[in-house]
Amino acid sequence: AQSVTQPDIHITVSEGASLELRCNYSYGATPYLCWYVQSPGQGLQLLLKYFSGDTLVQGIKGFEAEFKRSQSSFNLRKPSVHWSDAAEYFCAVAPQTGANNLFFGTGTRLTVIP
């Protein structure tokens, strides 16, 4: 069965610093992978997704993620964090079988300090 692990429950970074949020998945074939962000009082918003092609994926708000098959990882990165990036980030995976039921990780809470 597919699963997603986000090893970091909480990360604190300074505004302007770079960010990397880790995501590891467990699935035999190449899955559909994505990152969502959830701000307080807001719904889940898709940042980016990967299902084939270029393994470096660009998303909204300056985020990018890289699919590494050898490491079963799909880490999210941003070169310079803004205070408005403070939120909960979820990595999710789905099998490429036609039914896109997402399996979410437990999330990483990002705090941004001035």
């Binding site: 889940l44 898709l46 997704k49 979820f90 896109n100 997402l102 399996f103 979410f104 999330g107």
Partner: protein, 114 residues
Amino acid sequence: GAGVSQTPSNKVTEKGKYVELRCDPISGHTALYWYRQSLGQGPEFLIYFQGTGAADDSGLPNDRFFAVRPEGSVSTLKIQRTERGDSAVYLCASSQNSWTDTQYFGPGTRLTVL
């Protein structure tokens, strides 16, 4: 255009009562998903509709949970004989059709069972 909407935004009920949660997907989206998010966790898949039919209900925890989508648009999640453990935020998402299409999430309904 309008996003996914869910009503009510909050629902407080007593143990043993019946509740209905409503989801209005984005117009034209044939796929609709229900997820449940408990405190400190990522969303957990419940059920997936393609059109009017439940294509995958493997995530429903037990037979107290049921969902319908009679006309292929609005969906209702029904919970009978509610238990305190059912307390969570219930999220609805819709996508256009294909498994590669983005899932757009609603703001959720927070259910509290006293």
